[in-house]
C-alpha cells in the first residue's frame, strides 16, 4: 500500500510537472509568436535565387546548404533570411533574398564574415528589423529559451565594460524581446532608404 502511494505521488508530480512545462512553453510561444517574423522552414529556393558568382562555387544548388532563419513581407515583397553553408567552411553566412511574384534576387550576402553585419545597408529598415528579430528569436531558441539567453547576455555585459556598436535593427529587436542592453552600446543608425 505504501508502495502504491509512493508510485501515485511520483506519477502525480510527473504529470503535474509536465503540464506546467507545457503551459509555460505554450505561453512563451504565444509571447514570442506575437511578433511577425517566421522562423519555421519555408519552401526551398530555386537555384536562380541562390547566391550567385560565389568564388569557388561552381554549382550552388548542389554545393550550398541553406537553412531558413526568418522571413517577412513588406510592400508586396517577401524577404527571407538564410544561413548558407559552403563545403569547406563550417561557419554559415547570412544571405537575404527578395521575392516578388515569380522573380527573386539576392540583396545581401556576407560570406566574408564581416562583423558589422548590418542588414539596413541593403534593405528597408522595417525589413531589416523583422529579419533581425527572427534571427534573434532563433538564437534564443538555440540558447535554450529566453531566461537562458538573458542570463548569457547579462554575463557578457558584466564582463565587458567597453563601448561597442550594434545596428539600429538589432537594438530594436532586443527591445522587442524585452532584453535590456547596457548604456555602452552605440547605435549604428540606418540612413534613409
Amino acid at each position: 500500500m505504501t508502495l502504491l502511494k509512493q508510485l501515485f505521488r511520483q506519477w502525480y508530480w510527473i504529470a503535474g510537472g509536465s503540464i506546467t512545462v507545457l503551459l509555460l512553453s505554450t505561453v512563451s510561444g504565444i509571447l514570442i509568436g506575437s511578433y511577425t517574423p517566421t522562423i519555421a522552414s519555408a519552401p526551398s529556393l530555386p537555384s536562380t535565387c541562390l547566391p550567385q558568382n560565389l568564388p569557388g562555387i561552381r554549382n550552388p544548388a548542389s554545393e550550398l546548404k541553406l537553412k531558413q532563419v526568418s522571413s517577412t513581407r513588406y510592400q508586396g515583397k517577401e524577404y527571407r533570411l538564410y544561413d548558407v553553408t559552403r563545403p569547406a567552411t563550417p561557419m554559415p553566412f547570412p544571405y537575404v533574398v527578395q521575392i516578388q511574384g515569380a522573380s527573386c534576387k539576392g540583396i545581401y550576402s556576407n560570406p566574408m564574415g564581416d562583423p558589422d553585419d548590418y542588414f539596413h545597408l541593403a534593405m528597408p529598415l522595417p525589413v531589416a528589423r523583422q529579419l533581425t528579430l527572427g534571427r534573434l528569436q532563433a538564437a534564443i531558441q538555440q540558447a535554450g529559451g529566453l531566461p537562458a539567453f538573458r542570463d548569457r547576455l547579462q554575463r557578457s555585459q558584466q564582463q565587458y565594460g567597453g563601448v561597442t556598436q550594434m545596428a539600429e535593427e538589432e537594438v530594436w529587436a532586443y527591445q522587442q524581446m524585452g532584453l535590456a542592453l547596457p548604456d555602452n552600446v552605440r547605435v549604428v543608425k540606418a540612413t534613409t532608404r
Binding site: G56, A122, G162
Partner: protein, 777 residues
Amino acid sequence: MLPPWSRFLIALLSSLLLFLEIITVPQTVYAAETHIPSATYYGAAVPDWGQVTFTSLPELTQGGFLQVPNSVVGQLGYDPSRSWSAGAALESVLLLGDVADSFGLQKFSMGAIASLTGLNLETLSLSNLPLLKEQTIASLVQAVPGLGNLPLAQVRPLYDLVTSSLSQTGREILSVANQTLSQIATHDILGSLSVNQLGDTLSQYSFTSIPGLEQTALGNLPGWQHTFIEEVPGLAHIPFASFPNSPVSGYFGFIAIHDVTYGGDRFHKESTRKPTQFSISGSYQVGFNYNCAQERGCDYLELNSPISLGVAGDPSRLHGARWIRGGDGPGEQMVQGGHGVLGQLNGGMEPTGRHPFGEVFKVVLTDTDESTGTGQFGLYFRVCSHGIIDLGCTPYFIGPVPWLSSKEKGLVFVGLTEGTAPHGIEQPPIPSEIQDQINQQGGGTDPSGTSGDSNLCGDGPAGVDWRALSDAITSIESAGSGVYSAVGQVHCDSQGCMIPLGRYQFMSFRNDLRAIVAKKPGGREFLSRLDAGYRPPASEMLRYFPASDQDALFKQAMTQDIQYYQRRGKQGDELLACLGENWYSGNCTHSSRRDYIGGPTVAEYGQRTVTGYRRSLQQRGKSTCNISSGQQGNGKATGTYTKPVTGGVITSPYGWRTHPITGNGSFHSGVDYGADRGTQVKAADGGVVVDVLNTCTEGNYACGGGYGNVVVIDHGNGRTTLYGHLQTNSIPWKKGQKVSKGQLIGRVGSTGRSTGPHLHFETSVNGKTVDPRQYGL
C-alpha cells in the same frame, strides 16, 4: 744554421707559449642567436615582417646622442635632440617624426591600433597618450572630425575642463554647456585651455570619452612629431607589415653564400693587413662598392654567389664580394652618410653596410668571429624630415639593434646588388630556383620587362595605333631590343648626369619621369644617385620605373605631341615623322642635324619612325584593347606572398571574434586592407587566375556572393589567394590567364557587401582559409 737540439727547444718553447696563450686568452664565445621573428627566402633567413614589432627587437647595444642645432630645430618645428644609453628599447629612442616618411606611423588612429593589437580603448585613459596633454580645445576641434559639432556638455573631459576654468571666473556654466565645441574653440581663453590642465584627473576619463578621437590619425594632433613610439599605447606591438608605409612588403634581391669570415679575434689578423677589395657595402652617398680605405684593412665576410648566367656573367655580382664590418672601432669602417641639413649631424658619417630591406634602416655587419666562422648583423636607424622645407636625413647612426647572424656556408640575404662584378673568379653553376629568382628580378614587377613586346594597345588621337608607335620608337631606342628593363649609358657634363631609362629610353632629367619616380619609396634618393652618375641594374630601375609607368608616360607624352602637331596641320606619315623627330631632338625640323655623334640625323630618325610604324602595322595589324585581357605573366609562384596593396592598413584582421555584448560569433575569412578607391591591387604571388568577376556595381550587397568584383589566383600546391570588393571593370584578366607576382590585378573598390573602399584579401590552403599573417602580410 742552428743545431738540431736548439731547433727542438725552439719548437718546444713555441708550442708551450702557444698553449699558454690558448689557455690564458678568454675564449671568444659567439653571442646567442638573437630571437628575431624570421622566415626563409630561398633558404636565407629573413625577418618575418608579419611578426617583427618594435617590442620584438632586441635593445640597442650602444648609447648615443643626437644634438640638433637651434637653427635646424627652428626649421623642423620640434627639437629631435635626445640621448640614449645602451640597453634602451628602440621604441623609447625613435620619435614618430623620425619615421614619418618611412613607416608613416602618424597615419594610425588609436582605433586602428586597437583593432590590430586588441587594445581596449574603453579601459584606456586619456592620460595614457601623453600627446593629448599638449592639446587645447581648439586643436582638438580642428583635429577630431565632427567634434566641433557636439555641444560641450556631451564631451565630459572638455566640459569639466571648461567649467572648472569658468567657476574661477564666476561665469555661468549653463550658458556654455549647450554651446558647440566649435564655438568654444573660437573663444580666446576657452579655446586655448589645455587638456593638461585637467591634471591627475585626466586618468579618470576613458579614451572613448572624446567622441571621434579614436578615429583621429595621430598626425592630426599637434606635437605628434616629438612623441616617442613607446608613448603611443599598442604601437610598438604592431607588426611592421601592418604599418601604413610598410617598406617591407616581401623581399627583393639576391642571396649570397657566406663563404669565409675574416677578422674578429687575436689569431686571425690577415684581413687587417691589406685593403679590402670587391666591397658590396657602403652607403647611399658613397655607393655600395666602397672598399675599406683604412691602411690596415677591415674585417669582413667573403661571399660567394650561387648565381651565374654564363656570358652574362654574375648578375648578382656576389661571387668573391665582401661585406665589410661597419663601425668606428679597429677593423671597422665608417663612410659618408646622410644628406641635406640633417646630413651634417654625427659628423656626416655612418657605419658601412647595406639596405636589403629598403631605406628605413641599414643592415651593418657589427661583428665577425673568424674562429667560429660567424658574422653578426645589426640595424641602424636615422632621422629624416621632408616637410615643407626638406631638411634631408641624418646618417644612419642610431643603433645597433642586434639583428640576424650568419655562419660560414650558410645563406645571407643581401638585397639588390649594383656596380661592377669582380673579375677573374670562376663561376659556379646556377641552381634552378635561383634562375627563377633572376628571371623574376629581370622582369621586375612586370613579366614583359625582359621581352621586346609592347603592352600598349588601341588608338590615340588621329587614329595613331599605340602599339605600332611604340614598336616604331623602340625599334630605334633601347638598342632595338624594346625591353622595358633597358638601361642606357650615363652622360655627364657640367650640368650634371643623365641616363636613358626603359623601353622608350626616357632621359632621367625629364620632370614627368622624375615626378613618377619620386613618388616611390626611396625614389628621391634613387634620382639623386642617377644625377650623380649612377647606372642602376635593370631590376632596380624597374622597381622605380616599372613597365606600366613607362607605357603610361609614353602615352601621355605622345598624346600631347600628336595634338600639338595636329594643330599645326600635320597628318599621316608627316605626323608620324614629327612624332619621331620630336622624341629624338625635341622639335620637328626634318633637319640633317645629329643629336649625338654617331646618331641618326633628325630627318633620318623621323623616317625610321614612319618605317617602323608601317612595318608593325603590316606584321601585327591594328591593335585592340580588351579590358578582360591583361598582359599575361609567367604564372610562377615563389612560395612567398607580398602585400597586395601598398600602404594599406589592416582594418579588420583574420579570425574569430565574439560580440562583447550579444555573444554572437563571426569568423572573418580574410584581412581587410583600408586603402583609397582606385589603389592598385597586386598579385601576392604568381599563379593562374581561376575566378574573375568584373561587373558588380557598388550598392549591390549580394553581387559576387557578397565579395563584389573578385579575383582568385591559384598558386599551386593547393594555395590560393582571393581579392574582393574590387572596382567595376578594373580587373584586366580572364579565367585561365597567368599572372606574375606583383602584377596589377585590379583596383580597390567597394563592390559587394562593403561599406567603404577596402580590399578583402584571403589566403587559402586546400580550400580552407588561413591567416594571411602567417605569410608575413
